[in-house]
Symmetry: C2
Subunit: 242 residues, 2 copies
DNA sequence: AAATAAAACTGATTTGAGTCAATGATTTTA
DNA sequence: TAAAATCATTGACTCAAATCAGTTTTATTT
């Protein structure tokens, strides 16, 4: 059995840390349509691994043989682009399936993922995953929905990154983080200024400048590393106006 | 039967212009795995329409109920972004399936498509398409591959657009056009300077400037509206160096 | 073929955003 | 707990790229 280098060398933490896919079945809508046999096929070569803060879960460029499902914790996904610049694609919380187009195409991972804090992930062998896709059309339907959603989001970000200027992009990032990731008006201290810069594709200095400016205008409040959205309406306004 | 506005008003050209899906079956690898029954299901509510140069085939924001397959001709796909700026996603030639994530999600089209020259397209009802996806796992496998490819390309472009500067982006555009779309060193006169600007997300003036510069350096040759790649190696070099 | 419209080009100017350099604040480590 | 390291912040400067204002060329129309 081949393992990706990123958990092959960590035997101590390679343990079956969750009871089985039955749990995930209940929590992740994607796996809902699967019956016992299909679940056990996915369960067969599954592994769960606990990662510490800052540890690499997936590395861009390595052979993409596993999908990854976040079971608990918090991670970020980014592309290592030109001149070592990062572009953060997503922050991910439990029950999200990650792996990207590379896994399905049996190629290399197109992005890296690192744990933002202690994170438990489940590695699902792509081959088994594909077999189950062929067996269960309701499952493949949901998987296509997931792919469509990813693609759709990529298109939206493509436009945002290439056509909006800094204020608009920062507004987008803050809206994304507060509404999609945190589900509340306060963005946690795990998110650094550099992260925001990497998400919005600008220099850290510029990101800080804009954040400070938004604070001066009473649209956000900065306290240490946390960011609190004070005026969501104006933030959306800035996002739209670019 | 509901039709998209874009061919509802053109009764004169609403004709069954191709014999049936049997042809497409042979030409488009995506449809290869389909049997007679599945093809006829797709064939049932199918329409083919001929569009003139400049005519809108799909309009961003309208209800996405059809996939579109290019049968003959040449078209371009673009997103209408902020402040009426366009971002060209792709140029498309025959046997490419277009529609984007919107169709599968039963939402709105996320982009527009216009004919670059006389183009024959086939509209395939999304509902039937989905039914066939559920029936034939080999077909859905190929469809997922297509989705993965689209997503993958979107990620790559996201990085290019946000991290490369003008020279690198122009190089990317020229490589894409000559290698992927034209399959030869000469890019046709259908591609305007504005198109190249819209593909690379820069002003037309800047695009022209860089092209002229590349001509001065004997990397390309400009003759009227056509662009000939003279030194592909150096162009790839510029693309990589950003 | 002249008139008009649409693209393609070019130089001058402005500006958005990156870089650099230095300082302050916080966290981690020895 | 002091030292080191990391992260946040700010102002000054630079540069890439957009805008503007024309001119030239190429299509289209009458």
């Amino acid at each position: 059995m081949t393992l990706t280098p990123y958990f092959n060398n960590q035997n101590s933490s390679v343990r079956k840390l969750c009871a089985g896919c039955d749990q995930c079945n209940e929590r992740s809508p994607l796996f809902h349509p699967l019956n016992r046999d299909e679940l056990s096929l996915i369960n067969k070569d599954r592994y769960s691994v606990r990662f510490h803060e800052g540890e690499v879960i997936l590395k861009q460029g390595t052979q993409a043989t596993y999908y990854v499902s976040i079971v608990e914790g918090f991670a970020k996904i980014y592309i290592e682009g030109h001149l070592d610049r990062r572009l953060i694609l997503d922050f991910v919380r439990p029950w999200k399936l990650v792996g990207g187009p590379g896994v399905y195409l049996n190629e290399k991972y197109r992005y890296s993922m690192v744990a933002v804090r202690e994170t438990l992930v489940c590695f699902i062998q792509a081959e088994n995953f594909k077999k189950v896709l062929a067996l269960n059309s309701q499952f493949s339907d949901r998987f296509i929905i997931l792919c469509s959603y990813n693609y759709s989001r990529a298109l939206e970000r493509m436009v945002g990154l290439s056509q909006k200027q800094m204020h608009g992009r920062i507004a987008d990032a803050l809206i994304y983080l507060s509404e999609e990731i945190y589900g509340q008006s306060t963005i946690g201290a795990e998110i650094s200024r550099q992260d925001i810069a990497d998400y919005t594709s600008m220099s850290k200095d510029s990101a800080i400048r804009i954040l400070k400016e938004l604070e001066r205008d009473a649209i956000i409040h900065l306290e240490g590393h946390t960011i609190q959205i004070l005026d969501s309406r104006r933030l959306h306004d800035i996002s739209v106006k670019g």
